[in-house]
Structures are given as structure tokens and as C-alpha cells.
Amino acid sequence: MRYGALLAIIAAIIAAFVYAASDKRQPVSAQDFVNLQQGDVIQQGFRRAHANGFCVSGEFIASGALAEYSSATVFQTGRHPFIGRFSVAGNNPTAPDVKAPVRSLALTLLPDSAAQWRTAMNTPPVLPVGTPEKFYQQLQAIKNNTIAEFFAAHPESAAFLQWRASYQPTQSYATEQYHSINAFYLINNAGQQQAVRWAAVPSAASETLSSDSQHDSQQEPAVTDSLQQELFTRLAQGPVTFDLVFTLATANDNASDATVLWPATNPQRIAGQLVITAANEQKGHQCDALNFDPLVLPAGIQPSEDPILRARAAAYAESHRRRAREVLLESLTGNNSAKGAGDE
């Protein structure tokens, strides 16, 4: 009897731990997501998403225009250093960058400060779907070649599809516009909050990519890093700059739904200028060690309740853990196979 009670208590404790540790409690776990993203061939030591990319660094020259909305240091007038990373979507670090449907800019501003701010931005201004579970199904549909049916079954993808139809990729990372997509709240000294989205808007004039370089051209096979080489060459001529433009939500906008575009009439503020002055291969450079988790926010910025935004931290952490473990094992065993094309 007393043995029975003892065994029952121990069994209950073990069951509770096993349940908490199981990633099968939810329809899609961070591990499931990263398993799907990384694909069938694991690229040791690389990000499971946006694997093809490189590091940049520079300064953000804050205009002070956002200081009335947010107490964050990064918005107070002045020059704030950042580490960044340009990349394209996809899990293959050697896939031709110019062919990727999505390009990205990720930033870690004020990297050595308690007021650090991270953001990871993409070229589309909206998402096709609004929850991580549906996003997972979308990736499955891409893999299974049923994406047309998927979009048809998800009318909320209309704004995304409209953007995609009108989007013309340019010939440079420097001439794309990169969006936060998800909304955040700015909090000022008085504690007032304002929902916002932001975008890095290029200063350089763009030239649209010739359709040849995007699609398989007979003469010249696309290379892994033609966009990367273009940016390195461009930087040799001088800095690459973007305005960081904030769009303020009005009472009609829903901060939790990234599938809907906010009206073009919403008020905008230019928080400052991003001045990129240096670029490096990713391997062996600072941005490689960072996980551009968009929920690393300073006082003065808070996440919205957008379920996609909230889902990002755990997935980025799982990808970060996997590649860090591989780099650790490689450094312990002295095996260089994981270093790949980006190595010096």
C-alpha cells in the first residue's frame, strides 16, 4: 500500500517531465519547423533558413524623429553601430542567390549595449498566412508541389500574391526594400504605445534584373554569390545606405495580422539612415555567431501579439543550436567539411 503510493508519486513526476520535454504536445513544434526548413540534405554549420548570406557592418544615424514614440536608445539622435547580414531565403548556402524569391536584411543594432535591437527583414511587405501552423503547411505545400491549391484554400494570401505579381527583383541587394512584416509596439517615456511596422528603403536607384539572370540562361549559369559580389564591388565605391522608415498603425489596423497591408495613407516617420560601410564572408565573421531573433528588443520596443512573430524566437533558437553544435564538433574534431564556400 505504502509502496504503491511511493511508486505512484514517482511515476507521476517522471510522466510530468516526459510530457514537458516532449515536442509532440503541439501540432507543430520548433523542432518540426526547423526539420522541415533544413530539408533532406543538412548543411552542417549553416543556418537552416537564409543559409546563403554574408556579413555587413556600419552605423545607423538616428534622426530623432522616433524619440517621441519610443524611449529606445537607438532612436535618440546620434550614431549607433550595427552588425548586419544580407541573405536570401532557402536552406542551401551554395544555391545561386540571384534566383531566390526572397531577399533579406538582418540587423543587430548597438551590439555591445543593453539597449541592443535585432530585426530580420524580408522583401515581401506581407505574409501569405497568419499563423505558424499555416506557414508550416505552406512550406509542406511548396515541397509537395501543391502550392497553387494551398493559396487557393487560403484567401488571406491575396495581398501577398498581389505583391508577388508586381514585384520586380533588382540587380542588387542595395536596391531592394526590406520589411519588418510583423508589427511591434513603440513605447515612449510616458508609457504610451504605438503599433508600427518598418522597412529599410534603399537610397540607390534600382535597375531591374534582366529576366535572363533570374531564370536559367544558356550562356551563363547563375553562380552562388553574384548578388554578394555585386554588393562587395558597390561598397568599394562608397557606403550603401537605406532609410529606416516607420509606418504608424491607425485605429483601423490590426497589429496581430501580418497578412494585411496597412493603407499607404498611414503616417510615416524616418527613424534615420542605415549606412553600410563594410562587408565580409559570413564564416569567421561576427554575423555568423548571431541569431537575428526579432524578439531581442530594447526597452522602448515591444512585440505585438502576432502569432508568427511570437513563433520566430524558438525556431531561430533551434536553428542556432543545431549549427552551433555542428561548429563546436567541427572545432573539436578539426574537421573542416562544414565550412563550405564562404570560408576564407
Partner: protein, 175 residues
């Protein structure tokens, strides 16, 4: 030396407060690393703050342990069991220090800022992917060791309390 029957009140209090803190850290830690849910962000913030609090609690506990007179195990308990009890207690202190330390250093190596109750904590090591990997794996594997130890500890305590009824469990509860 004349040993007391029960642990001093300060140690009993710290023991049970810490038990609650460590168990919640473990459950929150395990759940948050797989969850894509909207509360993951809040749990992670809580986990880091509570984890740093746990570090100070363990240091306090070690200081208390070294400065208090603690009850001896009953003589009826075989020597080998007494040795194992000592060993698991030592392992507890080691793991309870290594868990928050690996968590802290993992944040440093990831280049992430860390603040607790508005106080920004210093970065002890530089941002580095391989070091992040080392502390991230340590944090996970040590947590499994800690869970196994806790199960062993609770089993032994209940064995004394329910089966042997020899006062060992009472020594951490009350007179």
C-alpha cells in the same frame, strides 16, 4: 558533536523555495524550447530572470550549508547509502551552480544582452558560435542530469518518509 534532529529553519525555508524555483525553471525551460506559442516570449524572459535569481539562491544556500549544523542520517542506514546520500547532495550543489552559469554564458556567447530587474549584467565571454554551442549543449544535458537526480532524491525522501518512517523526511519538513 551534538547533531540537531532537523535542518535549521533557514535551510528548510531555502530548500523548499528553491525546490519550487528549480522545478518551475525546469518545466518552463523544457516547454519553451519546443513551443511556437505566443507565450514563449514571456516564459523565456521569466526563465532568464528566475535563473539568475536561482544562481544567487544557490550561493546563499551553499553559504548556509557551510555555516549550519545539519542533522546526521540515522545510524541504522547502511554506510553505502549514507555515502550515496552525501554524493547526491554534492552533485546537487554542482548542478545547481552549473545550470545558471551555463545559461548565463550561453547568452554571452550568443551576444544577447541580459538584464534582471532593470540591472544590465556584464558579458563575461565574447560572442562566439562554438562557445555558444558548448554552453547550449551543457545547459540541455546538465538539465537532464539534474532531472534524474531530482527523481532519485524524491524517491529516496519518500522511501524514508513512507516506508522507513525514520525521521529523515521530517528533518527537512518540521519538528
Amino acid at each position: 558533536m551534538n547533531k540537531p534532529q532537523v535542518y535549521p529553519i533557514a535551510m528548510r525555508l531555502v530548500h523548499w523555495l528553491m525546490a519550487a524555483l528549480i522545478l518551475s525553471l525546469l518545466f518552463v525551460g523544457l516547454s519553451m524550447v519546443s513551443s511556437l506559442g505566443p507565450w514563449q516570449y514571456t516564459l523565456l524572459q521569466w526563465h532568464k530572470i528566475a535563473g539568475v535569481v536561482a544562481l544567487f539562491a544557490v550561493l546563499l544556500r551553499v553559504a548556509l550549508r557551510l555555516s549550519s549544523r545539519t542533522p546526521a542520517l540515522p545510524n541504522a542506514i547502511p554506510k553505502w547509502q549514507q555515502a550515496i546520500a552525501k554524493l547526491t547532495h554534492l552533485a546537487f550543489y554542482a548542478l545547481l551552480l552549473l545550470m545558471p552559469l551555463s545559461g548565463y554564458l550561453m547568452q554571452n556567447a550568443a551576444g544577447r544582452p541580459l538584464s534582471v530587474f532593470g540591472v544590465s549584467l556584464p558579458s563575461i565571454i565574447a560572442t562566439d558560435l562554438a562557445w555558444y554551442g558548448a554552453f547550449r549543449e551543457l545547459h540541455a544535458w546538465l538539465s537532464i542530469a539534474l532531472i534524474l537526480l531530482i527523481i532519485l532524491h524524491i524517491s529516496a525522501a519518500l522511501y524514508h518518509g513512507l516506508i522507513r518512517r525514520d525521521g529523515v523526511l521530517r528533518s527537512m519538513i518540521k519538528h
